[in-house]
């Protein structure tokens, strides 16, 4: 036996233990690997290949579309990892009794939830590194160190906010089968009106306003703002971060009320 278990070394060791196994399970999941890693990279290659030489403006700065797509696709992969994958994963773990079995052990629920959220942050960090590296090497989209720091901040807050939304939505979904259509219905339209696939400058005023009601637009806008600035102060978008944080807090409150560890099909 190992000299001391994770639990006996305190809550932080236990959290690290949980993150390690959640991350391992997450990286081995073929569905998550495809939608979180492979699919966004394919979209980045296609979008920049087709539209990359066009241009748009971000925060008044005239840029090539490739500089628009790198942070935009990063926003998309964060939403997929923290929202789509998490909803499906939680619904599956709950309905197959895994959450209930974990809950039957002494592990504090906060460790289980934080572990899942932090492993999602780790996956987002891997994805951000990949996309920024591809952008730099393949498309010459370089970023200043201060901009990368701002992207990291925005990405972490965005990931946590979407993880909260994921927890909230998982409480509304009965079975993992029902999760897929709900996720696609809530995500797909937002890619188009939130400045992920199409620059918001090209959208009608109404569509842009609709996009701004939802958190995806604010994550994408925050990341895109960072990509055109060289100082941290200029690259960080406090307004977008506040909106993301508000969504996260509201979702966390909803999840607190609605979240269940037990299968919804529990019978007497």
């Amino acid at each position: 036996m190992p000299l001391s278990s994770a639990a006996s070394r305190g809550p932080l060791a236990l959290l690290a233990h949980q993150v390690r196994y959640d991350l391992r399970a997450g990286l081995r999941n073929p569905r998550a690997r495809f939608f979180t890693f492979f699919f966004p990279i394919v979209l980045l290659v296609i979008f920049t290949g087709v539209f990359g030489h066009g241009s748009t403006t971000i925060d008044g700065v005239h840029v090539k579309l490739s500089r628009f797509y790198v942070p935009g696709i990063l926003a998309m992969s964060i939403v997929v990892a923290a929202y789509a994958n998490l909803v499906i994963s939680i619904a599956t773990l709950r309905e197959t009794g895994v959450l209930k079995r974990r809950r039957a052990t002494p592990v504090p629920p906060a460790v289980l939830i934080a572990g899942q959220a932090l492993s999602t942050v780790a996956i987002a960090a891997i994805m951000a590194t990949l996309l920024l590296a591809i952008g730099k090497v393949a498309y010459g989209v370089g970023m200043a160190p201060a901009a990368i720091a701002a992207i990291a901040c925005t990405a972490v807050i965005g990931t946590l906010a979407f993880a909260c939304i994921g927890y909230a939505v998982s409480g509304l979904i009965g079975t993992p089968d029902a999760a897929q259509p709900i996720i696609q219905a809530t995500m797909m339209p937002l890619w188009f009106v939130s400045g992920v696939f199409i620059p918001t400058a090209n959208l009608s005023g109404t569509l842009h306003t609709v996009g701004e009601l939802f958190p995806v637009e604010h994550l994408a806008a925050g990341l895109q703002l960072a990509s055109v600035h060289t100082s941290f102060g200029g690259a960080i978008s406090l307004g977008d971060l506040l909106v993301l944080a508000a969504w996260g807090i509201a979702a966390a409150a909803f999840a607190w009320w609605r979240f269940s560890w037990l299968p919804s099909s529990a019978h007497a």
Binding site: M1, S5, A6, A7, S8, L14, H17, Q18, Y21, R24, A25, G26, R28, N29, T92, L93, T96, G97, V98, K100, R101, R102, R103, A104, T105, P106, V107, P108, R258, F259, S260, W261, L262, P263, S264, A266, H267, A268
Partner: protein, 372 residues
Amino acid sequence: MLTNSLDAAVAQRDAALPPDVANARHDAALQRDAALSPTPAEDQGSSVSSIPEDPVISIRALHKRYGENEAVRGIDLEVRRGEIFAFLGPNGAGKTTTVEILEGFRQAGAGRVQVLGINPWRAPSAWRERIGIVLQESEAEPGLTVRECLCLYAGYYRAPRSVDETLALVGLSEQAQERASALSGGQRRRLDVALALVGDPELIFLDEPTTGFDPSARRAAWEVIAGLRDLGKTVFLTTHYMEEAERLADRIAVIAAGEIIAQGTPHTLGDRQLSVAQITFAPPHEMRLGELPATLAGHADQGPDGRIVLPSSSVAADLHALSGWALARGLKLDDLEVRRPTLEDVYLDLTTDDPDPTTNEPSPTTNDQPRS
């Protein structure tokens, strides 16, 4: 302070006693104090357990209601340390509700429930160090190997068992590197047991551990469960299989329509040991019951399959009379049988009296908020 002076008095009195007795008394005193204090027993878990006479599970007048329906109607149960206790009942009889209350997943409606001396609904996480649960339905941790699953769960406990020993105990050492999701049904159930054991609990809940098994997988699982007894564990087993209860359990309780309708050992449940044996045989040819010896003819009967049925409260004498009669007529009575009611007969007798047990307990999730 009152508590201190009480403790001092107890210590003084116990000085003359052997240390074990003194400790037990001291623990009893602590427990009393805990009962008097406004925040009951939250942190008294470990001290209470060291009193060997204390039941591991104690239920008094437990009620649980879902809306209009009373799923559990005042049950009393006691499970002692080191025994395998089987809890039987038809679907919807209140079995799962009771088990989930014991496991801390649901709140008791009324009555007193103590598991390892603590109310499960208010139990601190230290209490969960001491119990293991094999759920009725739970799948493997996705993406992890068998060994990784065990390592993950071992990390949740302060003093877990060795992962390799636990794998050996349930016979999964050879599958340690396989993905847990790739295991067969029987192997996966053994993994469930291993996950419940890895924290080295005192008390293990097994909820229908062999449902859906083929006979050989079931026998293998029984060996594992019987092995828990040798480890000194207390086991609370729910099952649909009478053979399983008979094979494994020290004591059995039967619940129907929310009430305990019988309790006993596999041998004494429903006064099985007192029940009358039956001697049966197929008549060699068309015969009237009156042809039987006079001592037997009076209470003999002919079953729908044509067999002669003789309820017998003194089997040796009745067999003697019967065999003498048969020999005199040159009959072989090749298919003669003497049988007592099986546990299954007793169980069916007990539970089919109930008018309609299935309507008494609706799905609890519809109008009850379980622990979240």
